[in-house]
Every structure is written in C-alpha cells, then in structure tokens.
C-alpha cells in the first residue's frame, strides 16, 4: 500500500491535479481545461487521477489551491485550502532549494515570489494590469491560426524582434495587427509580443523587486519558450523552467496538506466525487444596504458551504 497526498489547483483556464508520495515524488498528474466550468473539471480531474493511481494507494491528505480553491476544497473535502502564492513557493523550494525568485504566469494572474533560504519573504501579484497573459497568448495563437504549443517556438526564429506596445492586451493586439499589415514577419511580431509581455510584467508585477538567480518560471505560460527566452534576454541570466512547471501549485498544495495533516488523518472524500451531484448558486442578501452576494454550494441538493457575506449571517452554517 503506497501512502500519498493529493493536490488540486483549479485556475481560470486549467485544472491541475497531482498525487505525490511521502517524499513528494509525483506519482500521477493531470492537466485539464477548466472551460469555464470548474465543478465539471474537478469531477473529471478526480476521475482521471483515480484511474491513474488505481488501487493500492492510501491518501493521507488533500489540499486545494488556485482561484477556485474554495469550491474544490468543499467538493473533495480537502484538509487545507491554500492561496496560490504559498503553494507555488512551497513547491519551488522543494524541487530547487536554492531558488530565490519565482516567476509565475498563469491564465489570469501573474505573480512574483521572493525567497531567501527557502522561506518566502516577499511577493507581488498583478493588480490593475498584467492580468490574463495566458488567455491572451491563447487568443493570439488562435487568431494567427497556430497551435498554442508551437506559438512560443515562432519567437525563437525571429530575425529582428519588433517593438510591440504592451500596456494592455487591447493595445498589444492592435499594434500586432498594424505591424503585420506593414509586412513584418509573424516570427518577429511574436518575439516582440514575448518581449512586451516580459516588459509589462517587470514594470507592473515585479516592480521594485530585486530579481536574483536562481529564477524559476512556473505556470502555464512557462510552456512558451518565446517568453522564457524574452525573460532571459531581459534579466541577463538563465531562467529555469522546472520539470513539473504546469502543476507546481498542485504539488505545493499536496506538500502543505502533508504538513497540516501530519498524523491527524484526512477528511478527503475519495476519488468518486465524479458520481456526486454539485451545484453552486448565488443570491443577494437583503439584510442591509450592503447587499452582499452570497455564494452557496450544494451537494446532492444539501447546502454544504456559503460565503461572500461581510457580516457572517450566512457563512456560519
């Protein structure tokens, strides 16, 4: 019987899950598209992970992270629900203890985490801009008729990197179109886009932070070799994309779950969540002029979680 921990990271674009052993070696990992329906993607994820590990495994703890961490935590009865900053830091320092900077760019959020001696000491997350980088790359690949997997490779073949206005995606897209209409090659434009993404990240997210090596680049956008290259050109040193870059958040959630459950036992509901009916609905509380939007999660038509109210009238179940 193998003893293991499970970690789940549900983001806006993708849903990731891993099963790790007691030494945090990845036994199974899955990456699915959230497709705007996290309930469904969490269900599929659990079913596929369950099929991968099959029998002969005992789950000692479960953790969730990502923007749908709360929903995922309620659905699988996770032992811990942790924000994505800490889980990414934890996983990064597990695989590369000498890491001092983590760059994480996902579908919606961008962040930077500064570590010293394997302890996170500072972080920043996109506020007004540098949001939606992953979705934007996805959209541009589709617009140019190239598969997203090959999109970054185009940038590596650039001969003259062209300057693209990167303030926000609306400007970037119209500038890309203008440059294309002038006859500039797609390779040069995509390289320019990668530079613009990096420039925008450095000016809005990493602003004021000192970036020291070792730099790890995690999250879905790390799959894009063009953006990795643009970071290296900007920083002047190597940027490492870790082996499990796509599922680092999930691995971190599993590690934090192991810290938390240490000998306490798990609440984990098992892999058969796929067969359970979940529903989430929202209503506006009319108790006071704040009119809070309360979110309710139901399992088999029974309310199991509520949140969103400021005063606590609904969230205390």
């Amino acid at each position: 019987m193998v003893e293991a921990y499970i970690g789940i990271d549900v983001g806006s674009i993708s849903t990731k899950g891993v099963v790790v052993d007691r030494k945090f070696n990845v036994l199974a990992s899955r990456y699915l598209r959230t497709q705007g329906n996290p309930i469904d993607s969490i269900r599929r994820l659990l079913a596929e992970l369950g099929a991968q590990v099959d029998t002969g495994i005992r789950i000692l703890g479960a953790g969730t992270t990502g923007s749908a961490r709360r929903l995922a935590g309620v659905m699988v009865q996770a032992d811990i629900v942790k924000n994505e900053i800490i889980t990414h830091a934890v996983a990064a320092s597990h695989f590369h203890p000498e890491v001092r900077t983590v760059i994480e760019i996902g579908g919606q959020d961008s962040k930077i985490i500064i570590l010293r001696d394997a302890i996170p000491v500072d972080f920043a997350m996109n506020t007004v801009c540098a949001a939606g980088t992953g979705s934007f790359l996805d959209h541009q690949a589709t617009r140019l008729g190239r598969p997203i997997e090959e999109f970054g490779g185009l940038a590596l073949r650039a001969k003259n990197r062209v300057n693209i206005a990167g303030r926000c995606t609306v400007f970037a897209e119209s500038d890309m179109i203008h440059k294309a209409q002038l006859g500039i090659s797609t390779e040069d434009i995509v390289a320019g886009l990668c530079d613009a993404i990096v420039r925008n990240y450095m000016n809005t997210v990493a602003k004021g932070k000192e970036i020291h090596p070792l730099v790890l680049f995690q999250g879905g956008v790390a799959a894009n070799v063009g953006v990795k290259k643009a970071f290296e050109l900007m920083l002047g040193h190597e940027v490492l994309v870790p082996e499990h870059f796509l599922v680092m958040g999930a691995v971190g959630a599993a590690i934090v779950a192991s810290e938390e459950t240490d000998g306490k036992g798990t609440r984990f509901a098992g892999f058969n969540v796929a067969d359970t009916a979940f529903e989430t609905r929202a209503f506006e509380c009319e108790g006071c002029p704040n009119r809070c939007e309360v979110i309710e999660t139901l399992r088999e038509l029974k309310v199991i979680d509520r949140y969103g109210d400021r005063c606590g009238k609904w969230s205390k179940l």
Binding site: I85, I86, D117, A118, M125, T127, G208, E259, P289, R291
Partner: protein, 354 residues
C-alpha cells in the same frame, strides 16, 4: 438645526456628541454601505479618490433623512482633500439638494474655536473648548476600543464578535467626561484576552480616511484578525485632532523617523505613513500593511519609501490601493498570502522537509 456630517468610522459617535454639546440635533448618515458608494460615485468625477465618493454619498443619504446642515472637513494643504467641500457643495446644488453647507477648516484651531463654531451655534468660545475636550476623550476611547478589538480578534475571533456590540453600546452611552473615563475600564474588561497571545502582529499605515473608516478598506482589520494577525495602528481621529492642536508627540516622532526615507512631506499624511512604518519596524512587528485610495499621490510616494524600508530592513510590506471596483476575492487572496508569508517567516520554518 438638523446637523449631519460624513461618517468617520467609530468616531462618528465622538463627532455626534460634539455637535449635540453645542446644541444641534444630529441626524447621522446611515452606516457606509454599497448604496452609499454607488450613490457617491454616480455624482463624482470618475478619477477622484474614494474618500470624496463615500463622503458625498453620506451627504446624499443624510439629506434623504431630513438633515438640513452639512459639516465637512476643509482646509487645503498639499492634499486635494482640502478642496473637496467646494466640489461637494456644488454637486449638491446641481442636484437641487437644499442645505446649509459648513466647511470646517482643519488647520486653524483658533478660527474653529473663536469664529466658525460660535458663528454657527451662537455659543461662547469656552463652550466650544469644553465640547472639544469631551470629543477628544471620546475619540481616545474609540481608539482604545479598536486596539482591544483588534487584539481580541486575532486570538479569539468569535469572542471578539460577541464582545463588540456590547462595547459599542457602552461607548455610545458615555456622555460626561466621568462616564467616558468609566467606560474605558469597562471596554478593556470586555475584551479580556484570557492570557492568549496573537501569533503575528502587523502594523497598519496609510491614508487617514482609510485608517479610520473601515468600510473603505473592506474591513481589513477584521479580515486580518480572522486570519490570526493582530493589527496595530497609530493613526486615529484622536491623534489627528491632537496633531491639529500641535500636541501630538507621536507625530513629531513619525516626522523624525520618516526623514531617512522621505526628506520632505509630499502632502497628505505620507510622512506620517512612512514614520509610523519605521516605528513599527523598530518595535519588531512582523509586517506592514499599507492602505490608501487609488490615485492618491502622497501615498504613492510613501509606497516607494516603504519599499526602500523593506529592502533595508527585510520587513515585509504589502501596499494596497482601493477604489470602488476593488475585488474582494482578489483582496482576500493577497491578505491571506501575506499573513501566511509573515507566519512562515516568523516561524523560520524551512519549506522543504526532507
């Protein structure tokens, strides 16, 4: 006279007592809510800061309840807040709202005592002085209440929630100086910690309206308390009034401590923000949370100084700017990550265990 004024957090009680002492019937604005900010934003310039929008919303809601006289802080220095009353008075006129609008200058205590208040209420200056003394005592009481509440929330959140309405009732009912004095002891007793200590302590600094009016910062003190962090602060209406009366030693200290990072005041209370942060760092607090309205120039300058402080000393700093669109979910993620980071740092726990 049916007097009203924009809400200033728990100090609304202190200002109400003050105006009542001078003979006004007070119609307080309803507590700040989503409606207040929607109403205020609708009639405000788009890029003006949140204090303008919320206080204008307060005025509109108070007028609906029958207020006929509106008091608003005024007095321009380097922060544009000092000019807000002109625009707000004009906005109310344009909307056809009738009221007597009284700007109260902050920076001339003599004017306040000898001219403005006697002119409005027809009372001798000594009565104004007496009312100010009482207001100060009450405001000091609300400052202490917040300190006790924040500590209690960090160690026993549910207990703090239960104690809060009791303490607020006591504060509201304390009228004379003697009653206020007695209330201080009672409030302290209500928030007994039973010997428990908070895990981490964070210093809160920033723009004064956000420091006082919890609604603006989405009740950041409560959210941090829920996560087990005690929020320590220096800025309060009490200290602000003491400062206006040139009798606040904490301000002198802040100005001195800030000098290393900010040689000259860029306006507003930025110098104080920086000085308090340095003070908290020297006291050994575990982190600094910096809050201010989006587009606030002085606090954006303070932000740069705080980043330098963080680099020099290693104290974690989280700067948060707010407008009426600030997403609560995003805010909570950042706060949670910050508290986690500070806790892990404090424990010095290595993240990898094998």
């Amino acid at each position: 006279m049916k007097a009203s004024f924009p809400n200033v957090g728990y100090d609304t009680y202190a200002l109400k007592t003050f105006l009542e002492d001078l003979g006004a019937e007070v119609i307080p604005a309803p507590p700040n809510s989503r409606r207040t900010i929607e109403l205020g934003s609708l009639h405000s310039p788009e890029l003006i800061c949140m204090p303008f929008k919320i206080t204008l919303g307060n005025m509109l809601e108070a007028l609906e309840l029958g207020a006929d006289t509106m008091f608003m802080a005024a007095g321009a220095r380097k922060c544009r807040f000092g000019y807000y009353h002109y625009l707000q008075e004009q906005a109310l006129k344009n909307l056809g709202k009738e009221c007597r609008f009284i700007p109260v200058t902050q920076y001339s205590p003599l004017d306040f005592v000898f001219r403005i208040m006697p002119g409005v209420f027809g009372v001798p200056p000594w009565r104004v002085v007496r009312a100010v003394a009482k207001m100060l005592a009450k405001s000091q009481l609300t400052q202490e209440f917040r300190q006790h509440l924040n500590r209690k929330m960090a160690v026993d959140f549910d207990g703090a929630e239960q104690a809060k309405p009791k303490a607020l009732a006591i504060i509201e009912q304390a009228h004379t100086l003697r009653e206020i004095q007695a209330a201080r002891g009672e409030v302290r007793r209500i928030f007994n910690l039973n010997g428990l200590q908070p895990q981490v302590r964070l210093g809160l600094v920033g723009e004064i309206y956000f420091m006082i009016e919890q609604f603006a910062s989405q009740e950041i003190e409560k959210e941090l308390g829920k996560m087990g962090a005690e929020v320590v602060f220096e800025r309060s209406l009490y200290r602000h009034i003491r400062h206006l009366l040139s009798s606040d030693p904490a301000f002198v200290r802040s100005e001195r401590l800030a000098r290393r990072y900010l040689q000259e005041s860029p306006g507003g209370e930025a110098i104080r923000t920086v000085g308090e942060a340095v003070h908290f760092q020297k006291q050994g607090l575990d982190g600094i949370v910096h809050i201010f309205p989006f587009t606030c120039m002085p606090e954006n300058i303070a932000l740069e100084a705080l980043q330098k402080l963080s680099e020099d000393t290693g104290i974690p700093v989280l700067s948060l700017s707010f407008d009426e669109h600030t997403s609560r979910t995003g805010l909570l993620t950042r706060l949670e990550a910050f508290v986690d980071l500070v806790k892990r740092r404090k424990l010095g726990r290595s993240l990898h265990r094998n």
